[in-house]
Amino acid sequence: MPQQQKLAWFTLSVCIAVAVVYLALLPFVGPSRATAAFALMAAWAFAGQFYRKRPGRVNVDERDRDIHAAAVKVAAGGVYLYFVACSLLMIYSRRAAGTVPVNWLSNMVWFGALILLASWSIAALVLYRREAA
């Protein structure tokens, strides 16, 4: 399995773990404090290990770069759609109040990062599977 594909699986696992912990904390501490689950994203700091130089072996080649580029496009589109959806939701749900709670904005940013990473990893995994089939 290419190193980048391993990274995609690792990233998706981190995203799923964050989502599961957030949903588990949500009924007990509320949406604001449940964002503590995003601390798990610090595990992604170990992502560099997947690109560690292995003597005598190629880590990332042109095919990996092509897949990464395609996955980034998908992730960018996904994040854009996510923020459009969030904006529309805020407009229609808070129209009468005329204001948006500040913690909504921080949650939106955190989930946006989660969407970005999850979209990239899913797109990369689909592309790797498509080329291997």
């Binding site: 290419p2 072996r57 190629v58 080649d61 042109e62 095919r63 990996d64 080329e131 291997a132 089939a133």
Partner: protein, 75 residues
């Protein structure tokens, strides 16, 4: 990938001392998975990679990669 692009990489590997996919990957600077994808016609290489592969087998690029269902251009 464009299905009209086929290649003879697998045949050339076996003709050159039964070269393994890893050996070829090491010589052209890619991963073994890329060689697998190439042989399965699931990936179209860059020009640089195509030239490197042809150089390894000491043949022309057109002898490795073929357009239109494997029809070779006569020289």
């Amino acid at each position: 990938m464009d299905r009209a692009l086929t290649n003879s990489i697998r045949r050339l590997r076996f003709e050159h001392g039964e070269m393994t996919q890893q050996d070829l990957a090491d010589q052209v600077g890619v991963t073994r998975q890329t060689i697998i994808a190439l042989e399965a016609a699931r990936y179209a290489p860059s020009l640089l990679l195509a030239l490197r592969i042809a150089r390894v087998f000491d043949v022309n690029v057109e002898d490795v990669f073929h357009l239109e269902n494997g029809r070779q251009k006569s020289s």
